[in-house]
Structures are given as C-alpha cells and as structure tokens.
Symmetry: C2
Subunit: 903 residues, 2 copies
C-alpha cells in the first residue's frame, strides 16, 4: 500500500505497457507499447493513464500530487535515449502530445505537435535539420495548434475562417498578390514563416491577453491539460453518445518524441491499413504525403497519394511497410490501421489500432481471416459489428440506370453503397434539410464539426482528402455512402453551388454517388437491391457469382452454429414471411392483425363493427370480417410450413379505424346507410385524452368478447384449412396489453373454447399456444399470476418503454433530444432497451413467469428485437427468441450469436 | 389424518361452535353458537361450514361425500331435543335455512322459512297450533320462498310484479271485490290460504315444468343448494365488490328449528339494537310486529312498531329483551343488532351480530363504550370505520332555511344528514339521473335490487318500513342520508308522482330530507357545514355545545396517541392550509404551483412565457411571474408556522395554459402584441398525442431550466421574507416526474444553487429539502440511484397508477366499469391503491430509496392518501406520512391510527 501509484507508462527502449492495458493506457498508448515490444520502430515516449483523467474530472481539474515528478522522470528517460533535451538550445527534444481513449475516437480530441519549440530552440532545429524554413514551419504549426487548442484562439461566431488560417492567407496574398486560386503552403519561405510566427504570437496575445509560453515545461503542462479537457468537448461528447462510450472511461495522454515527416523530400507521413477498409480486400492499403506531418494526411487538405506510389518515391519505406503489414496482422490477428512517418527515409510507427471498416469489409475480413487461420470462427463472428451488418443488405444503384447515367466525375470510393440526395453544403443545414428527404453532404473536406450533418446525410461527397481523411473515416464507421477527394468538383460555399463537368448544381439539386466505385452522377438515380437481396429474395443472382453473398452466408452459417437465442420476424403478410425466412427467421414473433383490416373494402366491415350499437349487429359485422382474416392467416400459415406464428389479437383503439374528416365520414355514412352524425358521435365517443393508455389491447376483447371470438375462429379455421393440405401449422395466439390476470383468463377461455369448437367441427387436432404480450409494468410485477393462463410471454418493449418510462414515443421529440445532449439518457430508449429501467421490469417478468410455469416460452416482439445491444440483453435474461422486421433478421442473428459466444 | 372432516357444527343443547369461528361458520352461525353458549334462548340447529361453500364452487356445485351423513346426524339431534321429526305427520319439525357469511351481507342472499311443510305436515301444524289459517299461511310462505329461491319462479322482464304477489292480489280481489286500496294479508282466511297454496303449486309447475317437492329432505337439500348458489348472485356480487369481501370466503348455511312469531297475538318478531344505530345513543332500540315472522319486519312491507311499545303489548318479552341487551353488550363488548321471535310470549333469539351504524353513531358508541370501560381506547379507535368518518363532517341543512321551509311530512330518521335532490322513483333511472346531479331515490320500500340506485342517490326516502328495513340498513352502512317509513307519502310508480301534504311532485322535482330528524321538505334546501366544521373551521359553534364535536375530538386525541404515520394535506392556498391544520394536518404534502398561475392576470405572463421564442424573452416573462409565486408561497409559509411544505415545481404540459378556441387566442394575441397565427402555431406545436406521457413534469424544468430557477427563487425568497418576520419555514422542494437520476441531479443542482444565492443575498439560513415525486415505474426501479439526489420521495400514486397499469384515468370509463363488473379488478385502482401492482412498485421504490439513503423521508401525495386501505398500506410499507385533501385529513388520521394499532 505504501507503493506510489503509477501514473506514467513508458515506451521505447524500456516499455512498461502492453496492448492488454487499453483501459488504463488507451488504445493508442497500449498499442505504442505493444509495437515497441514487438520490435517495430516507435519513437520513445510515455503515456499518462486514463486514471489521471478520471482524477482530473473528479477533482475539479486538479492532478494527483505525484504526477509532476513522474512526468519529469519519464521525460528524462526519453532525453537519455535520444541524446536530446527538452528546451535545449543545441539539441532540443520535441514532443507530440496526443489523446488516446480506450476506444478510438478519431479526430474527436485535440493533439499538439512540435512541442518544445520557442524562439531559441527553433534556431537549433534549423541548424540540426539544415532547413530554417522547416524549423520555422514547425514552430508556426506548433503555435497554431497550441494557440487553438490550449489557449482557445478559435473562430468567433462572426468570423468565416479560423484566425490562424486568415493570417496564412494574408501572408500568401502579400507574397503573391497577383495570383488567383490556391497558393500552396510550400511556397512560403523561411523568412515569411518567421513573420508568420511573429503574427501568430501577436494574434494569441490580442485574442487572449496572454503571451504564448516559451517555457517547454509550461507548454507540456498546458498541452496535457488541453488534451484531458478535450475529453469533454462537444464533438467528443456527441461521438461518445453515438457509440455508447461512457464518459467515465476518460482518455490517456501520449507524450512522444517528434519525428518529422516534413523534413524534406525523403520524408513523409501516411496512414495505412493492413486490408482495404472499404471492401475488406487483403492488400496494403493507405496513402501518404511526402514532406508532410501526419495531420496533413488526415486533415484532407492536400489529397494524398495511394500507398502503392510510395514504392517509387521512397522504395525502402514501402518495403518497410509491407513488413510492418505482415508483422502487425500476425501479431494482432486483426486488420490494423496504422500511422507512420518517414524521416529521411527512416520509417517510424506512430500508431496502430484495429481498423474501422465498413460492414462489407467487416464481413469479408472476418471470413477471410478465418480461412487464413488467423482467427477461429467464433472470433470471426465477434468481429462483425452486428449493427453494421445491414449495410451489406443496403440497396445499390439500379445497374441499368447507372449505366445510362452520365458520370460527372470520380473520387475515391470511401464508403460503399449507393446514395442519392439533395446537395447540401453545410452540416447544420443538412440536419434541417434531412428532415424533409435524403441529403448528400457535399464539402471541400469535412471536419469533426460536421459530425451531425454527416449523421443526418444519406451520403458524403468531398472534393479533397483521401481514404483516410476525416470524411472517409467517419463514413466507414457509420456505414455512410461516401466518395471523397473528387477533385473535379468546384464547390463554392458562398454561391452555394457545385460546378462539375461543365454543369452547375445548386444547393438542393440532386446528385447521386456510388461509394463502391467512386462515381458521381447528376440527378437522382434509382436504386436496386443489394447482391444479397438479389440472391436471397429476388433470386436474380446466382449465389456463386456474389462474393458478398458467399461471405454473408458463411457468417450466417457460423451464427446458426453458435446461437442459443432464436430469431423470429414481425410480419403481417406471406411476402414478408417468405423474406424473413430467407434471412433465417425461425417463425413469426408478431403478426399484427389490425393491419389486415385496412386492406380493400374490409375497412367498411370493420367500421360497421365499430359503429354497431349492440352485440347482435357487432357480431354481424364481425362475421363479414371473418373470411378475410381466415384467408390472411391461411396465407401466412402456408408460407411458414409449420414454423410458429405468434398472432396478436386486435390491439389499437377503435377510433383509429374510423374516418376523422367530414368528407370521409359522409362517404362512410352513405355506404353503411347511417347518419353522418351517428358516425361523428361515435368518433367523439371514442376520442381519448391518452389513447396509448386507453381502451385498446385486451381491453377491447374483454369489453367486446365477440371480437376475440371472431379472431380466434379465423385463426383456427385457417389452421384447419392449411393442415388439411398436409402443411403443419403452429399458431401462438397472443393477447395484448394484459395487466390483470383475469383479463387474460377470460380471453384465453374464449380462445380455448373456440379452438375446441373448430377442432371438433373440422375433425382435426391443432397444436397451438395461448399467451400474452407483456407490455405494461404491472404485468411484469404480477407475471407469476399471469403465467397461470399464459403458455408464453412476449415482451412488447415498445409499450413497456412508453409506460415504464411514462414517455410517449410520439411526443418525446420535444425533450428526448435534449436529454440525449445532456446525457440524461444514455441511449434512445425507443431504439435500444433501457436496460436499467425497462430491462429490470423484463427481468421481473421473466422471473415471475418462470416461477409459475418453469418452461414458459419467452420472447420479445418490440422493435428492440432487431437492435444488437437489446438482442444481447434478451440473451442475457434468458429469453428464447427475439423478433424483428424481416430485414433486421440477419443483424439479430449475428447479435444473438455474439451474445452466445461471449465469454 | 384419518379423522373425518367436520362440515357441520351444531348449536342448542350441545354446541360445537363459538363466536371466534366466523371464518368457518359465518357471522350468524358463530354467534348463534355463542348465544347458545352464554345461555340465551336459541332454537336448536346446525351450521354447514363455509368450507363446504368453497368446495361447492371449486367442484362444479358438488358437495363433499360425507356431508349428507353429517346433516342426517345433526337433524336427528335437533329432532331429539325438540321431540319433533322432520316430515312427521303429527309432530313435524320445521326448519329455517339461512345464509351466513363471515361479514354480514344483509338481504343479499336467500333465506327459506317453514321448511318441512307439505300437504300432510301442514295439517299437523294446524292441529298443534290450533290455527289452520296460521298453518296454511306458513305453508304458502314456504311455497313462495321455495318457489322463488330454489325453483326460480321470479318476475320476468315483461312483468311488473312478482308472480306470487300477483296471485295474492288476485285472491284478495276475489275475496273483497269492492275494496279499493290495500287489503291486509291478515284478512285472508284459512280456506283462501289453502286455495293460495294450490295456486302457488300450479304456478310453480307452469313456470318450471316441475312439481314442488313434498319430501322435506328434498326440500332441505334444495334449500341448502339455493343458499350456496345465492353467494354468487348479482346482488351479492355487487355488495361484495362495494365492501371488498373476497368471493373466496364463501357463505355458511344455518339450518335452525322454526319458531313462529306469526302464531297469534302473543307472538311476534322483531329486530333490536343494543344502541341506536343512527345516533349511537345507549338505548334499547328497534322495532317489532306482532303475529309476524321476522322477514315481515325486515321487508318493510308493514311498518313495524318501535320496540318501546312492546312493553305494553307483551311486557314479559320486553323485559326479556332488556336483559338480552345487557347480556349481549357485556359479552360481545360491541353494539349488537339482533333478531328475535316471540312465540306465545316466549322469547327466542335468532341472531346477533355487530350492528352496522352510521359514522356519527360509530364515533359516539366507540367513545362512550370506552367511557363505560367496556373497551379500551385502542379498541375504540378500531371501532370507527375510517371511511365513515367523513359522514360526521358532511353538511347539514342550513338552520335558517330549514326553519323557514315547510315540512311536508315526517318519517323515521334512518340515516342522519341532509340531502336534497331530484325525485327518482326507480333505481335504474336513478343511476342515470345521478350522472347529471343529486338524486333522491323515493320508493315505497327498497329491496336488494335497488342497491345500485341507492349507491347513486344522495339520499333515500321510503313510504314504508322501519329503522331496520332494508332501506335503513343499507343507508346506515353506506352513510347515505335516509328517511324511511314516511307513511304520508303517496307514491305512484305509474304516473311517476309523489303526493304529500296536498302537493303533487313529479319525478325530477326537488325534495329535501333531513335524515337526523326524519323531516321531508319540498324543493332544494341549502346546506350548512356540519357541527364539527362549525366548531373547527367556522368557529361559529362552541366546542362544549356540540356532542358530535366532543366525540370527534376524543377520537382524534386517541388517534394522535396511537399513530406512527404522519398526515399532511394537499393544499394550494393559505385557506386550505388553515383548514387542514384545524383537522390535524402536520404540514403540506403537496402544493401544486401551477394552480397559482391561473389566478387573475398571472395567466398572461404565463402565456407570454410559453410563447417566448428564446430564453431571453422566456426569462423576461418568468420575471413577471416571480413576485406572484413569491407572494403565494409567503402566504402558505406564514399559515404553516414552521410545518413542512412540499412544493411541487411546474408539472402540467404547457399547452394546458394556452387558450384553444379562436376567440381567446385573438384576445391573447391582442394583449401580448403577437399574431394570432403565432399562438395557433405554438398550440399546434405543443399538441401531444398522449399528454400524460409527454413534455411535462421535470422534463419542462430540464428543457427550460429558467422555469425551475424562477420557482426556486420564489420559494426561497418567500421563505426569507417569512423568516424575517420570526416565523419558522420548512420548504421541501419537489421535482415531479423524475425517471432518470440525472433529471433530478440537474434540477436539484439549480435549486441548491438558487437557495445558496438567496440565502447569501438575504443573509439568512433557510432549512429546506430537495426531493422528488416518484410517479413513474422506472423511478421505482432505479430509486437507489435517484435517492443519491433526493432527500425525500413522495409517491405520486395517481400517475404511478396510470403508468404502472398503462391506464389513463380520464379514458378508463369505457372499460373500467366493465372490469369491476367482471371482477377483473378488485377495486377501482384510482380510488384505492392497486397493492398487488402499484403497491409492489412502491415497495421497490421504498427499498431502493432506503438502500442509498437510510433516512430518506417517504410520503405519498396521490389522491389515495385519503383512502383508508391505501393509508394502511402506506403504513405497512413504512412511509413517514400520507397527504390528502384537507377534508380527508380526519379519515386519514383515523386510518393511520388503526394501521398502527392493528395487531
């Protein structure tokens, strides 16, 4: 206990950390340590742990007492290794300071480079590098980053551009007053860089009232604090929310000796992937810029070159990277995304991490790595983020239409898929415009500020930046369609136009992009189903001709092998059933019978039923509905071929079926031969203040048992019909909205009675179950009682969320977004099960149900059933199946398999 | 284990049972046994246990195998004791067969008398009694009851009168063809009785297709089954629901040797009370009829004589009764309601039970019995049904107005209090009419069929029947105002008129009745507060001058002594606070701040706030509201003199404050200088599908923290003001509708900050608490987390019921009554806490809260806080206080004391 807490982990010659220590060192820090361990060339440095970050926030931005001493010690060790010294006027040591959270949050937090420079050390750097311009360029970059990140010199609301950029533009204009268009930074000479440094210092003083600190130790302290602070900045908060990263995790800070990719022609910086992150193909993939620091590559300001070109430019470095690719994959057994710098032909590794990839790539990489025996099938299943799987099902452009369309230009295929939408040149506007229809966010390049716009857009198109640019990276991660670096675009933010191939598009016009080929088209191209859909549903493509399908099929095969939780589908028609079965659904978890009432002229009989003034005429109207329902159920049973079908009895409040406008009321009155006022009266009578909590669900069947009777009859008569054709049938009749045991007792008595009657009349034996939807908190609390009458429970988590949280989904728009902003809710509870609240109710329901009926069948039919975290939760609490819409079935299957294979 | 189960308990010379065995023998059976034990003259008989009833219902109306043998054995014992024999042609034994449930359910179930009579035994009875008329009268009565109850010969929907009564009326008309008006039954001679018997038999045969069984054993079996079956009849079910008697209890059946009150002038039957059940006065109270069976007294067909008159008619019996009165009270230590029969001057006791009484009487009897040392104060507290206590607070007629009014006639004061309402002559119509306003149910007499109408009516007025008639009995029990036996009324059901004192009133006209004096007045008399209110609130009556007040005060004194649970009040104004404190409230459990916004022109500022388009203008409008709120709070604090005040922050959705009709919108637009369409837009924007689950409660304060800020400021500034006057203040600021911990964290942070600011600015130290309303199921499930920020919890059981049951109170009218009918819900969950559902949530909330904060203050502020069962539940789960409307405070205090004193 007397041992001092360790806040610092070094890497380099002496390495304390390793890749397992992600929680403590962050991903970057842990992997720098790991790379150093396995002999890759890593510039030495140290990592300040995430515990310091937590301490910092828990103690009002104070640090633990011993930290300073440990930093001093670690810096001394780096100095010793490199023979340089922080602040030394002859051999100055320069540092980079970077964040590094447990999970990668690219571009979300701040970075400082070239730390240690000041008016004295810059001269030493000029001397040692032999390039004053390089030294002063480094210095001005440092000033710019430090000024922005640590001292807060940023664009004010009334400004169009970053103040430092304005200063650079000014100096360029002074240097080349007659040139129009972009002047490359490289044309600013040493003297002008020096001038820029002076202007930057002045800018900092004017804006902050404080001087830029020339003491490197002060610089270091400020930078570390800035990185810790950036953990809580807006961008990072938004990002964490989207990806469910807890704020408590904190970030580590990596302090590392600088190497310079910008020290000449034989230097450079780049980003690499051990496989293609967009398609998953096993190639060394990436891009680089010569004479540039890493940030230049990622920022997307200059469009970098494909990594293959490095072979020509700096062959030794390219060779080195191929070796690195092998070492990394062999060691990490995962596709790696790494950063490197070449300083005077010498290759340095600055970072490696598991690479983000598209859903398509994720599937391919997982399947191929298993084939390469790098990983086993269980690991392969875990490697595909379940919520990305639907990307492989996403539509592509209709082949014919795409062929016929004119290609305006081509960019880099950074996020595969097809997207068509209205051009929007600004992220904030994109959020607004997206509410009215699909939007393409078209930008010169994107930055973390654009995140919300990128989330809102259907696709992203940039003029500059490569496949590792911010746009590409974020798109990949979100599964957005993205084309980047389409250099032929001329984007004018002021006039809000995009010129390309001689045409001018205004904001709001349509463009289409193919993120798989990189092509950009004018107008709104029609889409076609993905290859997998073409194979499975349309049967228009042979399985053997689609790699995407084959990979998908392999993955699903593994899922089937690993899964405990069944996956059913929510489907109301034979077509949907067939689709879902193609995706591997094992039955229906929810058929909503009410949808069937809206088809054709059935609605008239339905309305007649609702308008009936006594049981006799209600029964008459119900009699008309019976054959419709019977036919629908027969169709579904036929398609299911003996798989179970959970059929929910009438659920919505009756007023939903009546016309509310005068014209339709008049029509209906005429049709049914009743007065308009009688319809109006009934509509008024049925009006409810809170329909969600009103007369619906089994409350209908209890007040009007003849409805239940009709529906039960339709179900069992349909079952008898289908059985007569030699097809197996397994109806599971589900009573909705039960909260009192006798609600179900009475309903199930009717159902069992009708079942008996039909079986007797038709001379058949029908296997069936009667159960209930658990969607009211009370039902969870008295599940033991309810289970007396229920052979199965199906959790209706939509309504259980609405009642359990006292929150109407339809009305939550006025506060839920605010709640997400303020981190009051971790996730949208209507998207992912609120495990701490609704989840507890479910657990009570499961326990109660099992206490009465040990083998009670347990499922979920809320929309959460297709959301991976919720699926995993359902596995955890021991449900037997989840149910979701047909197209979510693969996602649910994958999540179910992952849940089962975990630990 | 080999011991045979005992289904029969005998009483008489040999007595198996005792009064403790109510559950098994029913109240009547247990007390018959007890009376036999203590030497009172009880005709011998036996009781078939309630277990047999349960068995009967659990086994499809079959009896346990050994029952028949045990009955035979018991009958033989009675035969031996009396020297008579069932079915014997010389000395026939006759039986009565009566129901007897654990709790008395007067008139709800069926009774058979004179069992054992047939064409042979009737002759023996004629001989032994010396009166053929008497014998045949008994026989026809038996036929009538047996035909009705066992064989189901009853009024059909198309008939106006009972068929047996029609036959009686016919024979009367044949006998006395020229008489108009009522012919007394006593004028039907033996021959005609014989004829009636023959007609009754024919009637039974025609109606049922079966013959009346002449075998007494068959009669006995049929009667027992009929009594068991009557446990589930409509009347009994309605009654049980109203009084919360579980159906599982079942009824016992008492078979007892007949004694005849109708065997001559020295015979009679009557009902007695050991104290006056309407006022509680300690007098032998009751009534009798000579030459009549007990049913004649209770049925109310003949108006009986007051018991005092018995002294003259049959002095020995009167003397006997006085002795019985003493013996009963001494033995049972409770006011008894007993039935007796005098057969030829000999007194027989047929029943005793704890007497139902009015709330007024309950209080007086409890207090006086304690003074008489019959019971101790703890028992006295238990003796007053808490929900009857508000009867003593109910209004009486305004003295002046009553004096000025003309008394139309006088009846018996059977249910004290004042009632004015529209005349209604039919129970079913009364239910309908009562929906539109107060109704007086005016009937010749009432019967169990009228129960619903009696529940619906404000008061009951009958032409016939005494203080033990059905009307009087039910009224007493329900606390209904009742005048019975007002013989001067001429009620005509056909013309729907009531003639009295020369005036003719139509159905729908107003009458007023004083149930304390028995007076009937025309028109609608104005009411005045009860004596207790006059003493406590109006201070217009000296305490010493009101016996009612003194008894009440004594009871409340005991309550204070025995209670653990505090009682607070829900009050929004100083006046209400003062009232509640007079009733003994220990503070405010709920102040709804929103009510304050509707006063005067505050609503304009409120609306301005809601229409504000940005925070700045919202704050401006809030600033206008601040002084109003501050003044209100100061008023309340001043009145409370240091008692705690739980103040709930703004709760309802904002649209409730905006005008929804065009005219008001136009007015508002003019007032605020905005466009009508901007108001319309805002109204539309605020429209919600399920406002109950929408943007309200702390969701307002979280999205618009400036509202919370203003309200907190008003509270603390008011507190500072009042403190400055030397008056103690204890605000408890309550955040509504919390379901996520951070909702409360953010709100409480604001409140604490404002508190700090105000205390600093005013230089005072304010004691206060911050807590939350627990009214969402999720809040109960994460109560441990929420308690981190809550110094108190107050259960908002209204909304907790709505969300926990998924049931909108406002919309439940379309199904909840049906649910009550079908026994799906035991009680209206909005009236009495649904202990099995909502109660479980509360328990979870209590446990969670305490696990984090051991001393967390716990209360309830839903409307359930004034309902006795709910109060007892709150005591049970360990809350610290309940809160209810001022006038329910005494009820809650009594219930709280009873809960604490139980066991």
């Amino acid at each position: 206990m007397s041992k001092k807490p360790k806040y610092i982990y070094e890497f380099g010659k002496k390495t304390d950390g390793e890749s397992k220590m992600r929680a403590l060192l962050g991903g970057k820090g842990a992997n720098l340590a790991e790379m150093a361990r396995i002999g890759l060339p890593v510039p030495p440095g140290f990592t300040i742990t995430t515990e310091v970050c937590t301490y910092y926030y828990d103690n009002k931005n104070k640090y633990p007492r011993d930290l300073q001493a440990q930093i001093k010690h670690a810096v001394a060790n780096v100095e010793k290794q490199l023979g340089k010294k922080l602040g030394d006027c002859t051999k100055p040591l320069l540092f980079s300071v970077r964040s590094g959270a447990r999970d990668s949050m690219p571009g979300m937090m701040d970075t400082i480079l070239n730390l240690g420079l000041n008016d004295e050390t810059v001269e030493a750097l000029a001397k040692s590098s032999g390039s004053p311009r390089f030294a002063w360029d480094c210095y001005r970059r440092f000033l710019q980053m430090y000024g922005d990140v640590v001292m807060g010199v940023q664009k004010r609301p009334d400004e169009d551009e970053e103040p430092f950029e304005v200063a650079i533009d000014e100096i360029k204009e002074e240097l080349f007053p007659n040139e129009k268009g972009e002047v490359d930074d490289s044309r600013i000479d040493a003297e002008s860089m020096k001038e820029l440094v002076s202007r930057f210092k002045k800018l900092i003083r004017t804006r902050t009232g404080r001087d830029f600190p020339s003491d490197p130790w002060e610089q270091l302290e400020g930078s570390i604090s800035a990185v810790f602070s950036s953990w809580m900045n807006d961008r990072a908060t938004v990002y964490r929310r989207k990806y469910g990263i807890p704020a408590e995790w904190g970030t580590a800070v990596n302090v590392q000796a600088m190497v310079f990719g910008n020290s000449g022609k034989n230097s450079g910086s780049g980003v690499g992937f051990t496989r293609d992150p967009a398609t998953g193909e096993k190639v060394l993939y990436g891009e680089f810029l010569t004479n540039a620091q890493g940030e230049d590559v990622v920022a997307g300001v200059r469009t970098p070159h494909a990594i293959a070109k490095l072979k020509k430019v700096i062959p030794s470095a390219h060779k080195g990277l191929l070796a690195v690719q092998k070492t990394l994959e062999k060691h990490f057994k995962e596709m790696q995304d790494f950063e490197f710098t070449i300083e005077d032909e010498k290759l340095y590794m600055l970072q490696t991490r598991n690479g983000k990839r598209t859903g398509l790539a994720a599937v391919r990489i997982a399947v191929e790595m298993e084939q390469e025996k790098l990983i086993n099938w269980k690991t392969a299943v875990q490697r595909v983020p379940a919520n990305q799987l639907d990307q492989v099902l996403a539509p592509i452009f209709d082949a014919k239409a795409e062929k016929a369309a004119k290609t305006l230009c081509k960019g880099l295929p950074a996020g595969p898929g097809a997207a068509a939408g209205r051009i929007c040149l600004n992220a904030e506007r994109a959020v607004e415009m997206a509410k009215k229809g699909e939007v393409l966010l078209v930008r010169q390049e994107t930055s973390p500020e654009d995140l919300r716009g990128m989330i809102a857009a259907a696709g992203i198109l940039t003029e500059r930046g490569g496949v590792s640019s911010h746009a590409a990276l974020v798109a990949r991660q979100m599964g957005k369609v993205c084309v980047c670096g389409a250099a032929d675009l001329e984007i004018n933010y002021k006039s809000r136009t995009v010129k390309v191939a001689g045409e001018t598009f205004k904001e709001g016009d349509f463009l289409s992009i193919n993120g798989t080929s990189g092509e950009v088209f004018g107008g709104q191209l029609p889409t076609a189903p993905s290859e997998i859909i073409q194979v499975l549903i349309e049967k228009s493509l042979k399985p053997s001709r689609s790699r995407a399908y084959k990979n998908y099929a392999k993955l699903m095969e593994w899922c089937a092998k690993g899964t405990k939780l069944g996956v059913r589908t929510n489907a109301d028609s034979p077509t949907q059933v067939a689709q879902a079965i193609s995706f591997g659904a094992q039955g229906i978890g929810l058929t909503r019978t009410e949808h069937m009432f809206f088809e054709g002229n059935r609605i008239d009989a339905m309305r007649q039923m609702i308008l009936a003034e006594d049981t006799v005429s209600r029964k008459k109207a119900l009699k008309k509905l019976l054959p419709f329902q019977r036919r629908d159920f027969a169709g579904i049973f036929t398609e299911l071929k003996g798989l179970p079908a959970t059929i929910r009895l009438l659920d919505p409040p009756l007023h939903e079926f009546l016309p509310h406008d005068q014209a339709s009321q008049r029509d209906l009155a005429k049709k049914l031969g009743v007065t308009v006022s009688s319809i109006k009266n009934r509509v008024e009578e049925l009006h409810e203040f809170n329909p969600m909590l009103g007369h619906r669900g089994c409350r209908l069947g209890n007040v009007y048992p003849e409805i239940t009777e009709m529906q039960a009859r339709a179900i069992f008569e349909a079952a008898a019909q289908v059985l007569a054709k030699g097809i197996d049938v397994l109806p599971e009749v589900m009573v909705p909205l039960v909260s009192f045991k006798d609600e179900l007792a009475i309903q199930s008595e009717i159902i069992h009675r009708v079942a008996k009657e039909v079986q007797k009349a038709k001379g058949v034996k029908i296997k069936y179950l009667v159960g209930t939807m658990i969607e009211i908190p009370r039902a969870c609390l008295v599940a033991d009682e309810i289970a007396e009458h229920a052979q199965f429970f199906s959790f209706g988590t939509n309504d259980l969320t609405q009642t359990g949280l006292g929150m109407s989904r339809d009305d939550s728009g006025s506060f839920l977004p605010h709640y997400a902003e303020e981190d009051i809710v971790a996730n949208n509870p209507f998207a992912s099960i609120d495990q701490n609240g609704v989840g507890k109710l479910m657990k009570l329901g499961v326990e109660g149900g099992r206490s009465t009926r040990r083998n009670i069948k347990l499922g979920i039919c809320g929309e959460h059933g297709g959301e991976p975290d919720s699926v995993k939760f359902c596995h955890k609490i021991g449900l037997h199946y989840v149910s979701c819409s047909p197209f979510r079935v693969p996602v649910a299957r994958l999540a179910a398999a992952q849940a089962a294979l975990q630990k």
